[in-house]
């Protein structure tokens, strides 16, 4: 029976059909989805923290409103994705509470960029411009995913992310056209984030887990294809602002039709993500723990009050 199910499941996948939450799926497919979507959700939530440091410092009323709305979107994406992950985890009895506490128990990874420090207002701009820009490339490639609920949520996320990119671009344009000090701050930010951005797309080689995701059409493109897309789009933009990329090896190879770049320190960033050893990993996880565990009493009170309301 299982084997028959599996064959018809794979036929549907290969025909390009999408799978719904209530339909039969192989355990491996479910596990891969949970791993990917949980990490995606958590990255959105942890992605709010580097910007949280700059929300209160936005230097004009317009920027203040824009950055608040932007980071709110990130939390909103986290919430949408958590709900997709919750449905997938339901057969295992795993709930939202655990999906959140996994963050500070180091049972789920989040993107390397969110372990890094946001030191200046220009960093906040570059996060919107290049980090969100990289994220859109990743997420747009996932729109074709075989899992229907994920695809639906991604559609909304991508639409909102394109506003974020414009928000970031707007901040960095103001800096690029500003004073000498503002331009320096901006160049310094590009220098600081560059290596993280290259790492963001993951290793060049196709890992066994990635291979299985490609097999199930959970994802369609390889890490390197996405990284090349990012370089295609952003290197010319960075140069056109009169900024430099901190990589003397960076060039477009006309014969191979691809970008050549110095590889990021895979070992260093791997450690940052795996062991949460980035400059801000522990501090931000502590904030998440404080929000979640420190306010368990609020969530419990709301559950009690709901029970009371139903009793009346």
């Amino acid at each position: 029976m299982q084997e028959q199910d599996y064959c018809s499941f794979m036929e549907r996948i290969e025909r390009g059909e999408k799978i719904e939450a209530t339909e039969w799926m192989p355990d491996e497919y479910r596990k891969l989805l949970v791993k990917l979507i949980h990490m995606h959700a958590v990255s959105e939530i942890m992605g709010a923290y580097p910007e949280k440091e700059w929300v209160p410092k936005a230097p004009s009323l317009r920027r203040k409103l824009a950055i608040m709305a932007k980071v709110q979107d990130e939390m909103g994406h986290g919430q949408l994705l958590l709900r997709v992950a919750e449905d997938l985890c339901a057969p295992w009895g795993k709930t939202r509470e655990e999906l959140i506490s996994d963050i500070y128990r180091q049972r789920v990874k989040f993107h390397n960029v969110f372990h890094m420090e946001a030191r200046t207002w220009a960093d906040a701009g570059v996060i919107g411009w290049l980090v969100d820009g990289a994220a859109i490339i990743n997420q747009a490639a996932l729109l074709e995913t075989s899992y229907a609920p994920y695809a639906r949520v991604l559609k909304r996320i991508c639409a909102e992310e394109s506003f974020h990119m414009q928000h970031g671009e707007n901040i960095i344009l103001a800096l690029a056209m500003g004073t000498e000090a503002q331009r320096e701050m901006l160049q310094e930010a590009v220098n600081y984030w560059w290596e993280s951005l290259l790492f963001f797309f993951g290793p060049k080689e196709v890992t066994p887990a990635a291979e299985r995701m490609l097999h199930y059409r959970i994802r369609i493109k390889t890490n390197e294809e996405l990284r090349q897309k990012f370089l295609d789009k952003y290197v010319p933009r960075i140069w056109s602002l009169g900024l430099t990329v901190p990589d003397p090896q960076l060039r477009y190879d006309e014969t191979e039709k691809c970008w050549r770049y110095s590889e990021p320190d895979w070992e260093k960033f791997g450690r940052i993500v795996r062991d949460c050893m980035g400059p801000k990993s522990q501090e931000r996880m502590a904030l998440r723990r404080r929000a979640h565990e420190g306010q368990l009493w609020v969530r419990e009170a709301m559950i009690r009050s709901r029970a009371l309301m139903h009793a009346v």
Binding site: A48, R63, M75, W121, G178, A291, M302
Partner: protein, 265 residues
């Protein structure tokens, strides 16, 4: 008599002065509370709460931006200068909104107390003689009604839940009561002038009376003890007499702005 725009308002110095001072209080209240609300980002009890609090923060700062724009039309500096360049003693917000967020109970009770006050103050301006204000108020009232509903629901449900939730709310009320008095002060905006020219329809004593009636209903529904009369603190935020919390808030809020106040950011 209706005053249709800033140009007309500037022809009447007494009217103009009272109006500017009054709107400054509105703008400073909303900006300061909106800023405090935004500090909850990433720290709310659940992700849904985070998204909701951010909407409220954005509304408050949006209202502040509207009021600052009115002030600018009336001849004051541009909105960003008003929001970022004034010192603590130049600000006219009530002390309540500048206090640090404290715990969840404190934050939602503070917000409820403020939103009830703000709703009454907006009601007082619904037929304001200053038409640009009257028009803005109609829209702001719609948004504030949702804030109040949201915050009141939190307070009532947490109060009803009993246990530590009610205990924390009662502790919050004890902390909040001495921070309330200048909410009902109109400071240097001359109340008699505001009433005489119909900028507002009723004064501070009526605001406080209505506020107590409404807050008592919420406390009753939540099963909270009424803390009694509001003690006098002897300091009036509406006259620029603020707690150190405001100076700290401004230091953070203006950190980037101060790097270069004339640059475009």
């Amino acid at each position: 008599m209706d005053i249709k725009d800033a140009h007309q308002a500037r022809e009447h110095p007494t009217y103009h002065q009272a109006l500017v001072r009054w709107i400054t209080q509105l703008a400073d209240d909303e900006l300061t509370l909106g800023h405090r609300d935004s500090e909850w980002l990433g720290l709310c009890p659940d992700i849904e709460g985070d998204v909701a609090f951010s909407s409220i923060a954005q509304d408050e700062v949006g209202h502040a931006a509207f009021y600052f724009e009115l002030l600018h039309e009336l001849g004051e500096p541009d909105p960003d200068r008003l929001a970022f360049a004034r010192k603590s003693h130049e600000r006219r917000n009530a002390k309540l909104v500048e206090q640090e967020n404290g715990d969840w109970a404190y934050s939602i009770l503070r917000h409820t107390l403020y939103d009830i006050f703000d709703g009454i103050r907006l009601e007082a301006m619904r037929q304001s003689s200053y038409l640009p204000l009257r028009h803005g108020v109609a829209k702001i009232q719609r948004e504030e009604a949702y804030h109040l509903l949201h915050m009141k629901t939190w307070v009532v449900r947490m109060g009803k839940a009993g246990g530590e939730a009610r205990q924390y709310l009662e502790e919050a009320a004890v902390r909040l009561w001495p921070q309330l008095d200048d909410l009902f002060s109109f400071g240097d905006a001359d109340e008699e002038t505001l009433l005489r020219f119909g900028i507002i329809a009723f004064g501070s004593a009526e605001c406080q009376k209505r506020w107590e009636e409404q807050v008592k209903v919420v406390f009753g529904q939540a099963g909270l003890l009424w803390p009694g009369e509001i003690p006098l603190s002897g300091r009036d935020g509406r006259l620029g007499q603020h707690d150190p919390a405001l100076a700290q808030l401004l230091k953070t809020m203006t950190e980037v702005y101060r790097l270069d106040p004339v640059a475009r950011w």
